[in-house]
């Protein structure tokens, strides 16, 4: 009896996933009755809210991609460097101080990062690049990078520390310096764990919503200039839901179609990332 109740609790997580897929799929199918899937996935113009309406999602995907690339440029080197420092260089005492600081950094709400991008990062970037727009991709991607940095650092730290101590000792016995042991023995040994941390963190960056809504603007366009205003998939969903959108209208349906695409992309990345992580944990057990 008790076991059955507890089982239902665990089952709720599966029901949640099924619910997400069901809700998204139902309205997405309604959307595809009016717009073909091909023109949605390959169209270069996204103007669903005004005439002439066009439903090509690529500008939103491009905007998201720009944020992700920018965030990766910030978070991958800094996060990996932090992970290596925490695992291979820092004393236990320093580690004990740095870990909670990173936890705080990870716990700051995304809306606060959005505020920070708007009031601090963009003005600072404006000094370097006077042509920058008030809402721009660069500023948003920098704060998203800072946001996912603790996640990469912490997962890399875990992965590096899982490498057996004997391998390090062998490296030192051959006369390697600490840097050589860290980068040629430990890092290759933890490679899949480090890779998984990048995949999972970038999936988080794709789904990030409030910072990009506040700082990156609401201009869906395909551009490679990070100083311009863009729009991500998540920011579009927020933009529509902030307005008064009647259920069943075309704008309402686009939210589900874009949401479905977002869910599929992050689900694929999370599945891959978690799979690498599980596999990696088995190797050293």
């Amino acid at each position: 009896m008790i076991q059955a109740v507890l089982f239902l609790c665990a089952l709720l997580s599966v029901v949640t996933t099924a619910g997400i897929i069901w809700v998204l799929a139902r309205e997405t199918l309604n959307f595809f009755r009016q717009v073909s899937a091909v023109s949605f996935l390959t169209g270069m113009r996204w103007t669903p809210l005004f005439q002439p309406s066009s439903f090509g999602v690529l500008p939103l995907v491009g905007g998201t991609l720009m944020i992700v690339v920018g965030a990766a440029l910030v978070a991958v080197p800094l996060g990996l460097g932090t992970g290596i420092f925490l695992s291979e260089y820092a004393s236990d005492r320093l580690r004990g101080i740095l870990k909670p600081v990173l936890e705080i950094l990870a716990g700051i709400p995304t809306v606060v990062y959005g505020y920070f991008a708007l009031t601090f990062v963009t003005p600072q970037l404006g000094r370097l690049f006077p042509s920058i727009q008030v809402f721009n991709a660069a500023s948003a991607s920098i704060v998203v990078g800072v946001m996912i940095l603790p996640m990469i650092a912490s997962l890399c730290d875990d992965a590096l520390r899982a490498v057996p101590q004997a391998l390090r000792h062998a490296g030192y016995a051959l006369g390697a310096t600490r840097f050589e042991v860290s980068t040629r023995v430990v890092l290759p040994g933890a490679f899949s764990g480090v890779l998984a941390s990048f995949v999972l963190a970038l999936s988080r960056a794709i789904g990030e919503t409030m910072a990009v809504t506040l700082a990156a603007g609401a201009t869906p366009r395909l551009t490679v200039n990070p100083l311009e205003s863009i729009q991500t998939m998540t920011a579009y969903i927020v933009q529509v839901s902030l307005g008064d959108t009647p259920a069943g209208s075309m704008a309402y349906l686009t939210v589900y179609a874009v949401g479905m695409l977002l869910f599929m992309i992050t689900l694929a990345m999370n599945l891959v990332g978690n799979r690498i992580l599980r596999h990696f944990q088995e190797v050293y057990e």
Partner: protein, 293 residues
């Protein structure tokens, strides 16, 4: 390994210097994060302190920055988190007990585990879409605190389950075996021995999960939490606003004065979060001292 073929110590000065250089690089990378946190806090404090007055806590939102306050948002957040805790704690802990204590190794349980790991990484806005479709429209709860809390409960459920499982796993098996040896049933063992031993870890995990819910904005926007509310909720079916929503609203206004109001709101939000984090750390610290296995 090219260095293995070279005579030992030939390039040693260069290798040592390279090692020193990269020690500095890793150190700088680490402290970049620390410095950024400091800059962020300094920026928010500098902008927000002048606006953080007594009337800021008692006023409702206003078109005029100097009359704007967070009373409705603060009460909305308290309602939201209280109800979220009510729903997510029993279900999250229950699921963790099942997975850790009862579940064998079947394909279905593996599926549940993979599913939970993936749900933890699902964007929060997707939960918002789910909440809008299921709770707001299908169950017709409207834009109520209840709909918001149910959405938030689903959002933090994976984190709650994962944290609770870790706490349960840390309880040594000898405790379970000792209870069984005295004739206790499985459920008696769990209720009287395993759960109390795991409680500090579970509480820490729940506090951290709830503090994530406090800062979440996107799902609340999706389910239609309002940005301009001039009343405090009196029941679970009332409409509401919450701290992050209010901050988002102020930060997206064109008038510069509202940046200051937003910063004051952020200070309140961060104050609540830091208090909760400190509580979690304190519980963890205390249990580490009092429990030795």
């Amino acid at each position: 390994m090219t260095s293995a073929t070279a005579p030992l110590g030939r390039n040693l000065p260069i290798r040592r210097r390279l090692g020193g250089l990269f020690h500095a690089v890793f150190l700088i990378a680490t402290f970049t994060g620390v410095v950024l946190l400091a800059v962020l806090l300094a920026e928010v404090i500098q902008n927000g302190i002048p606006w953080l007055t007594g009337s800021f806590f008692t006023n409702f939102p206003s078109r005029f920055p100097d009359q704007a306050g967070i009373r409705a948002a603060l009460w909305g957040t308290i309602w939201l988190i209280g109800l979220t805790a009510l729903f997510s704690i029993p279900v999250g802990v229950g699921a963790a007990i099942y997975l850790e204590e009862y579940a064998g190794r079947s394909w279905f349980n593996t599926l549940i585990e993979i599913n939970i790991a993936n749900l933890a990484g699902t964007p929060s806005i997707v939960y918002g879409i789910l909440g809008l479709a299921i709770f707001v429209r299908w169950m017709a709860l409207g834009r109520s605190v209840l709909a918001g809390a149910l959405t938030m409960s689903l959002l933090i459920l994976p984190v709650t389950i994962i944290a609770s499982r870790e706490a349960l796993r840390a309880v040594p098996n000898s405790i379970r075996l000792a209870a069984f040896a005295l004739g206790a049933t499985k459920w008696q063992t769990i209720r009287a021995h395993v759960l109390p031993a795991a409680l500090p870890g579970i509480m820490t995990g729940i506090i951290l999960a709830l503090s994530r819910a406090i800062g979440e904005t996107a799902p609340l926007i999706m389910i239609g939490a309002l940005t301009f509310v001039a009343f405090t909720p009196a029941g679970p079916m009332d409409e509401f606003t919450a701290l992050p929503i209010q901050i988002f609203n102020w930060a997206s206004r064109p008038q510069r004065e509202f940046y200051g109001v937003a910063a004051a709101g952020i200070l309140v939000l961060l104050g609540v979060l830091l208090t909760m984090n400190a509580a979690a750390i304190w519980i963890r610290h205390r249990s580490q001292r009092s429990m030795r296995w």
